[in-house]
């Protein structure tokens, strides 16, 4: 209420209103200004603060030269004719120049046309640099604030009336903005690559090399690597494997992809069996070239390549959030014809290492003839070894890592399970390899949305049997989970101990994802999808229209609230229904006629309406008591309301 009173009492000059507008539009651009320009801004603000009179020509000239110097120093080294072709630099230059010019004009304390329109130019320029969800909220606030300032100016600097009117106007325009946003035709240009994106932090968890020694990449972090929105329902937990890289070469302490001279061909489309699923991914910067697709992808994502191993990569490392749509079949196997070199790479193992394992495999080979039976035997062997899943395993003997894992330490996590399993399979003559990527956790899912975190980084094996690569979840052979790991897995880091907080966090992430998907990255594709969906689902059209009507009603209600007449006292406000009723009967309070006189006039002229007259007389009496007797108790107010109801 205090702030409302403050607004009511505050009447600002046009210059102050303009200053407030400038503060709001310049805030995001301040993050863009380089140090010399920031110093320049600080000097200008200091002068404006201490000097209350208009600046002399000399001072304005001084600010001009200081501004030129600040612009020069800010762009020194980056500015050249070649640099001008880079839009971001050019825009930055424009911001600086506009800032200097506006500072000069503001110092003169004269409002001219250019000073009036510059806030809008700053707003338009800032939109080149920021595209995140925060900026979305800020831009809407900026638009409202500028509208408020314009209206306050038109209303003699009255901030409260300006606020009320701007709320009304804002609410009137909101439904139009929503309709235009959804239906305004778009073209398919992609986002420009300049400017600051919402997210520039590099994500970890998968880097294309798998260490099994102490360097083993273990990232139990809850930072989000990617967010996935499925068209339908989210697949089951055992189907949420996102492929990253394929590792063929055992380098004792780590596994590597195929050597560069062995190139698996690229293909655009794959015939895979299984349930088809469509989804959209927002992949945050990884500084790597892999994009993650659910096992097994159908086709290459636009702008990426997909090789015979179903590994999808983009040309340049991902340095800003990448949005892509993909489709996959929820299958654990896919057809492939191995070339000689790949076959060789996927069957290679060191005969000098892991003698104990080799011995076991020989027994299996002697016992079982078919690859399937051999694999079953290996799985059974893994289970029999009672291996423990541990996120903090003891270090393995790197020269005999499989022996060390299977017979001595018997502790490890996904990389150790996958590495040992592939080594055994190869010893048994089955071509095999390691797949690294992410296995999404349904605990991070909400409706059709799932967040994939760094802690979901995973490794599993793929065995080549009957011209098909078949996925084997090697970690599933673990006998038990080590207590610490279980705790870490189930409860996560400290901040997510509370399940409620986790749920709230997930909801927030879901909202953020939906805002990004449907607002920030809304495109012609999404528009067409929406129209197509509407064509196929009449129920959706009904829901959509109903939502729009609801929005319209909501905005009308809000604008009616802010448009309502305000009265000098509560008592007068209560009398309004009666006044309106009397007005309908042709009785309007005359200028300089007191309420008492007005009521008396009505009473004199309508003496026959005895019941109403007595009610009006009671209203008159009570109103006098409240207004002039300072009887502002709740009881009196309530009584006045009741009598007013009876009086018309």
């Amino acid at each position: 209420m205090k702030s409302l009173k403050f607004l009511q009492d505050t009447k600002l000059t046009p210059l102050r209103l303009l200053d407030m507008g400038y503060v709001i539009v310049l805030l995001p651009l301040l993050l863009l200004l380089k140090m010399p320009m920031l110093v320049f801004a600080l000097i200008v603000v200091a002068i404006l603060f201490f000097k209350k009179t208009p600046a002399s020509n000399l001072l304005v000239m001084f600010i001009f030269f200081l501004g030129i110097l600040a612009v020069y120093l800010s762009l020194y080294g980056t500015f050249s004719f070649r640099g001008l072709s880079r839009l971001k630099l050019f825009l930055e230059f424009l911001v600086y120049v506009l800032f200097v010019v506006v500072s000069m004009q503001r110092l003169t304390q004269k409002i001219n046309f250019y000073l009036l329109i510059s806030p809008f130019l700053f707003l338009a320029l800032s939109l080149f640099f920021y595209h995140g969800i925060l900026m979305l909220i800020y831009v809407i606030f900026e638009i409202f604030f500028l509208l408020w300032m314009i209206l306050a100016h038109r209303m003699q600097g009255n901030l409260l009336e300006g606020f009320r009117s701007s709320m009304v106007m804002f609410m009137y325009s909101l439904p139009w903005v929503v309709i235009l946003f959804i239906f305004f035709p778009r073209i398919s240009f992609e986002h420009a690559t300049y400017g600051f994106k919402s997210e520039t932090v590099q994500r970890m968890g998968h880097d294309g090399t798998m260490y099994i020694d102490s360097k083993a990449l273990l990232v139990p972090s809850d930072r989000i690597v990617m967010e996935v929105g499925f068209k339908g329902e989210i697949p089951l937990s055992h189907q949420l494997y996102f492929r990253g890289s394929i590792l063929y070469v055992d380098k004792k302490n780590h596994w590597e992809p195929l050597p560069k001279h062995i190139k698996r061909k690229n293909k655009d489309f794959y015939e895979t069996k299984g349930e088809k699923v469509e989804y959209k991914v927002t992949l945050y910067p990884t500084q790597k070239s892999w994009i993650y697709l659910l096992d097994m992808p159908f086709e290459a994502v636009k702008g990426s390549t997909l090789d015979l191993d179903l590994i999808s990569t983009v040309k340049k490392p991902i340095e800003e959030p990448l949005h892509y749509s993909a489709s996959s079949s929820l299958s654990g196997k896919f057809h492939d014809v191995l070339d000689k070199e790949t076959y060789k790479a996927s069957t290679a193992f060191s005969t000098d290492s892991n003698p104990e394992t080799y011995k076991v495999v020989q027994e299996i080979k002697d016992t079982y003839a078919t690859p399937q039976k051999k694999v079953s035997a290996i799985i059974e062997f893994f289970k029999a070894q009672k291996l423990t899943y541990s996120l903090k395993p003891e270090a393995l003997d790197i020269n005999n890592s499989t022996d060390s894992f299977l017979f001595t330490k018997r502790q490890g996590y996904c990389v150790h399970f996958a590495s040992s399993f592939v080594t055994m399979a190869r010893m048994a003559g089955i071509p095999s390899r390691i797949v690294t990527g992410y296995k999404a956790d349904l605990g991070n899912a909400l409706k059709n949305y799932i967040a994939v975190k760094e802690r979901d980084a995973h490794a599993w094996a793929e065995l080549y049997m009957g011209e098909h690569w078949i996925r084997v979840e090697t970690t599933a052979t673990a006998y038990g989970i080590e207590a610490d790991s279980l705790r870490q897995q189930s409860t996560g880091v400290d901040k997510e101990r509370n399940e409620v907080m986790k749920k709230i966090n997930l909801y927030l992430m879901y909202v953020k994802y939906q805002v990004e998907t449907w607002i920030l990255y809304y495109s012609n594709v999404r528009q067409l999808q929406l129209l197509q969906y509407a064509k196929e689902n009449p129920k959706f059209v009904f829901t959509f229209v109903f939502s729009l009507i609801l929005l319209l009603l909501m905005t009308l209600l809000i604008s009616a609230y802010f448009k309502r007449t305000t009265y000098t006292s509560k008592a007068i406000e209560i009398l309004q229904p009666l006044m309106r009723s009397l007005k309908k009967r042709g009785y309007t309070r005359q200028k300089e006629e007191t309420l008492h006189q007005f009521f008396l006039r009505y009473v004199d002229e309508n003496a026959e309406k005895k019941e109403q007259i007595s009610a009006i007389q009671a209203v008159d009496k009570l109103y006098e008591e409240i207004s002039y007797g300072n009887d502002i108790s709740q009881k009196s107010i309530k009584a006045l309301k009741q009598i007013v109801k009876k009086s018309f």
């Binding site: 038109r154 003699q156 607002i519």
Partner: protein, 289 residues
């Protein structure tokens, strides 16, 4: 439907003129459109749509702000040729919401009204200097507002026009000067009554010379035995030409009114007498000659 009809009626009565800020909005929309369309920047699209929608909704809001105002000319006092007077206009806001940023335009003059509370009225005085005497018509007045966004200048013409009479410009010899020549006006003095300050209208023989010696200029006053006959102004002796005569007579009429002197005017084809006709009627006869 009723409110829609009312709005259409109001809308028809108002003219909208583009301002320089409407050009700014168009340029801004075009620039934002390019920025948004070229790179599918949805934030820019949102800004673009907001600017468009706000500019769009500003029209009806501005129309309702101005269109509910009702203006009526009200009697505004005497007007004399070549003298600044005022035309009074009563403006009533026939809406429950307040009207903002209103300017009243008269003949080459602008008076700011700024704010008018809902269902309240206000009186605006428009300065007016008539060039000549006689009947006149004050028209082409209108109300203007740039509310809410300054993107349009809305004008509401005041259909009513003010008709009145401009009295002749009061100028010429003062009444005192006239009275000095008309000895009979003073009647016969009976008894010395006291002294009062000389204001130029008294006879020279009544000057109290003793006070002059002391540095003051006083005149003697007497109780009169009988009032002389009314002052009589002769149209033909009042000036060289008609305009000068009318101006002279207007001046004397006003001075007589001020001093509560009854008077008569010998006028062509008609004699005017202040005991029979009101001052305004006499001035009007002079104005319309």
């Amino acid at each position: 439907m009723k409110s829609l009809r009312t709005f259409i009626q109001i809308h028809k009565s108002i003219k909208q003129h583009a301002t320089v800020f409407s050009a700014v909005v168009v340029v801004l929309l075009f620039g934002l459109f390019l920025e948004a369309y070229m790179h599918n920047f949805n934030l820019v699209y949102i800004t673009l749509f907001f600017v468009f929608s706000l500019a769009f909704s500003a029209g009806p809001i501005g129309v309702l702000n101005l269109g509910r105002l009702q203006s009526t000319f009200i009697p505004s006092g005497r007007l004399f040729a070549q003298e600044e007077g005022k035309i009074s206009l009563s403006i009533y806001n026939n809406s429950s919401t307040d009207a903002w940023s209103i300017l009243v335009y008269g003949n080459n003059v602008t008076v700011p009204l700024n704010y008018l509370k809902g269902e309240h009225s206000s009186i605006v005085h428009l300065p007016f200097t008539p060039s000549k005497r006689g009947k006149f018509r004050y028209e082409n007045c209108y109300l203007e507002s740039r509310y809410p966004l300054s993107t349009a200048r809305l004008t509401l013409r005041i259909k009513e026009q003010y008709e009145g009479v401009v009295y002749a410009e009061p100028k010429g010899r003062s009444l005192a000067s006239f009275l000095n020549e008309e000895e009979t006006h003073y009647g016969e003095e009976k008894e010395f009554d006291g002294l009062k300050e000389y204001d130029g209208s008294q006879r020279l023989s009544h000057i109290h010379w003793a006070s002059v010696a002391k540095g003051e200029l006083s005149v003697k006053t007497f109780t009169k035995e009988m009032q002389t006959s009314n002052l009589v102004f002769d149209f033909y002796k009042a000036g060289k030409d008609d305009e000068a005569r009318l101006s002279q007579l207007s001046l004397w009429v006003l001075e007589c009114e001020k001093k509560h002197f009854p008077f008569a005017i010998i006028f062509p084809h008609k004699n005017l007498n202040s005991t029979k006709e009101s001052i305004d009627e006499i001035l009007e006869v002079l104005a319309r000659y």
